[in-house]
């Protein structure tokens, strides 16, 4: 191909820089606000810097640390349950052809596309009957609706490239079903469990309206707290909570970029929350 002229080359670089700046820009005011002591119009930067917002956010009375714990607990439980349920389902979809497979795939995919609010309004009525509203267990259960599809689809992909003959060989050499699973199956599917698990964790981590409705204001995760401080106009504390809230996702992206290169196509799913 022809070599681009210096002018079109610098235009390309400029548009690339603008793209990246635009993608990072909305996060910058959050970081600045978290260290600002009053940041009035029309100052481009705060007149005074301070640790106040961080001190408050990390103190017991703000509820941020407690809420962080609740968010981690819910995301961890939802991830663990998604793994327990999604790994077998992924095995069925990846290894076998059977009648009704299309319907099963549709049912598993549907919660990704059908808006959470449509499901949650109906489910709220059921959960009231079951005593699950306003409880952590109820919130974990409702988070499974968006997390399970990702886990199952990732595992179906892993099992589609998996050869079950190794399991039969292990069995014929005298390994028990449990030994076969631990020493043969598990190492082979581990990359899928890690990627799918990180997906599921982030999807649960990002939920807002499902938690709000089923948790009924009793189960307060970080995004709910963030919204409260944002609508109360406490920009400095909102900034600090926002930074705390996005850190796990950025760490997970760093981890997957380093250890699981080639998983880029799968990382695309992070956006769907």
């Amino acid at each position: 191909m022809t070599r681009p002229s210096p002018l079109s080359r610098s235009l390309l670089v400029l548009s690339g820089v603008m793209l990246i700046v635009w993608l990072i820009l909305p996060l910058v005011p959050l970081l600045i606000w978290s260290f600002a002591r009053g940041w009035r119009f029309p100052d481009l930067l705060p007149q005074q810097w301070s640790w106040q917002a961080w001190e408050y956010a990390l103190s017991a009375r703000s509820g941020v640390v407690e809420s962080l714990g609740v968010t981690v607990l819910i995301a961890t439980l939802a991830t663990a349950l998604s793994i327990l349920v999604g790994v077998p389902a992924g095995r069925a979809l990846g290894l076998y052809r059977f009648r009704g497979k299309g319907l099963v795939e549709l049912l598993i995919l549907a919660p990704v596309i059908v808006p959470g609010i449509a499901v949650a309004l109906g489910l709220h009525g059921v959960f009231i009957q079951l005593g699950l509203t306003n409880t952590l267990a109820g919130v974990v259960l409702v988070h499974l609706v968006p997390t399970l599809p990702y886990m199952t689809l990732v595992m179906a992909g892993i099992y589609a490239n998996y050869d079950p003959a190794f399991e039969q060989q292990a069995r014929s050499l005298g390994a028990s079903p449990l030994q076969t699973f631990i020493h043969v199956t598990l190492p082979a599917i581990m990359p899928g469990i890690i990627v799918g698990g990180l997906f599921a964790f982030l999807v649960s981590w990002s939920q807002y309206v499902l938690t709000l409705l089923i948790g009924g204001g009793r189960v307060i995760t970080l995004p709910l707290l963030l919204f409260n401080f944002a609508s109360a106009g406490r920009n400095d504390i909102t900034g600090a909570i926002g930074i705390i809230y996005i850190l796990p996702g950025i760490l997970i992206l760093l981890f997957t970029a380093r250890h699981l290169s080639g998983a880029n196509g799968a990382v695309g799913g992070f956006g769907r929350t």
Partner: protein
């Protein structure tokens, strides 16, 4: 153990959860939208809620606003995402770092992006301050309303910010799998750069772009927290209105909230259908 039994056992836990939580939730919502609630003695289904919802001009305005947000966000995101993928597939110094930054906000929850957009574009936000510093405006109120505005500009800005990397990563993976051979052939046969893109590369990546766009459209159509934070108080988007109606002190309004949820679901059902068609087209291609 037969394969059949094995498949049933492997799928049973996932199917149970999906049937109870997802299908059950939807089914109860549909029943309530028809005023059918045996628990509280309503055993005569009727269409009152749909009549009320579909004849309410406020709901129509909400629908149009929601459609405008979803459609505009999706189209702008897809176009920028294709351009970004064309840019990022080239080899250049620092490509890994740039790719990381490009994917960074995929992991950032929508609500954080919405707060960021608020701090950038509100009338006392960063861009308003810039406008003041260079003398374009004298007061915050002179800065154009880009959030809480009737055209939902702030909401669309947030979705474009969030969805460009989502579609972009998918398109980029597709372009890398395709390589540049097809375009090179077209160029050597006399096509110019634009023709090689429009007639060779674009048709090849279009199914992927379409299926990613369908996911984005369905998501932005049904999303709640971004329009809640960045939207005007009138009209509200359909999901915000449905939630507000559901949590209204007047419990009699709940069937109407359910009817709105059913309308949202039907529209996303249409999206699933379009999505499956798009992915099937990709398999054939």
């Amino acid at each position: 153990m037969s394969d059949r039994l094995r498949i049933v056992l492997l799928l049973a836990p996932a199917m149970t959860l999906i049937l109870v939580l997802f299908c059950g939730g939807l089914a109860v919502g549909v029943m309530r939208s028809f005023n059918y609630m045996p628990v509280i003695g309503l055993t005569q289904p009727n269409l009152d809620a749909y009549r009320a919802v579909l004849s309410d001009p406020a709901v129509l305005r909400s629908f149009l606003l929601t459609f405008h947000i979803a459609f505009t966000s999706t189209v702008i995101s897809a176009v920028i995402a294709i351009a970004a993928a064309l840019l990022l597939r080239k080899s250049f110094a620092g490509r890994n770092a740039v790719n990381f930054l490009f994917q960074l906000n995929l992991t950032v929850p929508h609500i954080v992006g919405a707060v960021g957009i608020l701090y950038l574009f509100s009338q006392s936000g960063f861009f308003a301050r810039m406008a003041y510093q260079i003398g374009l405006i004298a007061r915050p109120a002179e800065f154009p309303a880009l959030v809480f505005d009737p055209f939902a500009i702030g909401i669309i800005l947030q979705y474009v910010w969030k969805e460009v990397p989502f579609i972009g990563v998918i398109v980029l993976a597709q372009m890398q799998a395709l390589g540049t051979d097809y375009e090179s052939v077209a160029r050597s046969l006399g096509a110019n750069r634009w023709q090689a893109f429009a007639h060779v590369l674009l048709p090849l990546i279009l199914p992927g772009v379409l299926s990613a766009s369908v996911i984005v459209f369905a998501f932005t159509f049904g999303a709640y927290e971004v329009p809640l934070l960045l939207g005007a108080s009138h009209p509200q988007t359909l999901p915000v209105l449905a939630y507000k109606t559901y949590t209204d002190v007047d419990l009699a309004a709940r069937p109407q909230a359910m009817a709105m949820a059913v309308v949202i679901t039907l529209l996303s059902g249409l999206m699933i259908w379009a999505y499956l068609r798009a992915t099937r087209a990709r398999v054939r291609a």
